[in-house]
Amino acid sequence: MYSDKVMDHFSCPRNVGEIENADGVGEVGNAHCGDIMKIYLKIEEDVITDVKFKTFGCGAAIATSSIATDMIKGKTVEEALKITNKAVVEALDGLPAQKIHCSVLAEEAVKAAIEDYQKKKAQ
């Protein structure tokens, strides 16, 4: 049901963990539906220098979190905001139809973390 790429990111997820005093934190989803993603960003001069995640969810939720964090690492905030759920799905060599919402959640988690960063910066 899952591609090799999904299974790779699920069994050896990249960037798992937390960042203390992160510059941006985003949490999306809810336990009721069975998916929560939390993304932590370290940002220097608008460049994402480190990223970590924690996810409660199915195999696809963990794999999309893993690959999305990989995709934004080293990118500028502006570049990271352009990453769509479609790009996440493509990077994983596809997802089953009923799991597409996991990639949407990954996109939303990245956006939420960046929004948090921008809000903090504006203060």
């Binding site: 937390e18 336990a31 009721h32 539906c33 069975g34 929560i36 996810t55 409660f56 195999g59 799991k99």
Partner: protein, 394 residues
Amino acid sequence: MNVSKRIYLDHAATTYTSKEVLNEMLPFFTEYFGNPSSVHQYGREVKKSIDLARDRVAKAIGALPEEIYFTAGGSEADNLAIKGVAYANKSKGNHIITTKIEHPAVIHTCEQLEKEGFEVTYLNVDQYGMVSLEDVKSSIKANTILISVMYANNEIGTIQPITEIAQIAKEKGIYFHTDAVQAIGSVRINVKEQNIDMLSMAAHKFYGPKGVGALYVRKGVKLISIIHGGSQERKRRAGTENVPGIVGMGKAIELAYQNFDEHNSRVKGLRDKLIKGVMENIPYTRLNGHPEKRLVNNSNFCFEYIEGESLLLNLDMKGIAGSSGSACSSGSLEPSHVLLAIGLSHEIAHGSLRLSLGEVNTEEDIDFVLQVLPEIVDRLRQMSPLYEKVKGGK
């Protein structure tokens, strides 16, 4: 997948067909292929084998052979019992009583009947998944024609007070059906002593083949057929018989009750060891289902702060096959209706794991599960944002 050994702990989903059963079936594909309805020798010799299978099924549950109707499985048996009685007894009433934890074959059949104008009461269950006799009694109305309560739950293994419920139905002159698909082979059943009017079975849950089941219908129950055609199964189930399947089902049920005590006490020993080991070694875990009144081969847990599908995938990578009631593993958005009915929150219901044992499992299998499961649960919890909040207090 580089797994040296595979451990099958999903016997409640299906079992393999045992060698003895398969050997009994094989001649009926090639040598004895006749249509049992035919007059010639080819037909007659096959008809005899169906009669033998019918005798074996009847004997296993204390029924008469002419009260056994072979079907294409458990779902069809449930459909035949519920729709068959509902349509045939419309003039008496249109109210059906069942429970919130039935198999979809019963629940969705009842929902269909609701669309057709029938009225259905879905009884609540307690925290162990047990139906209350008081609830059964108080939901009976003048227009109640059928009570359908599963013998044992397929997810959490809870065994219902079937004899007592059947007694209530009998006193009120209401038909009583039980979906015993999960119970056959694990529980001793006598439909006459227990006053059961209809009982559904499926061969692939007790080392028989898939695609064959049966419905026991007590003589005198008013029921109409739902598959129309030829006059097979005394006109109650049309269609040329699945002869190899029926032969296999007969052999499988005979073996299940021949080896009953030995098989079930061994499986229960392993299952108890598994439950004890899991509950002692993994914190924030609950056992779902009744602590004692449960199927001997069933264990069902919820591990808080993690999700079931990722747990199943991790176990699968270690060669262990289980199942879960999480939304993601069921392909729907809702977690198991059974886990919600016993009062679990959505969040906790997503983290369920059912491990159901069988003939092939050994002490070593259980030791291996007890070795790897705590590690997997811990790894997933370390990844879970929900676990952060409790970690401090641990």
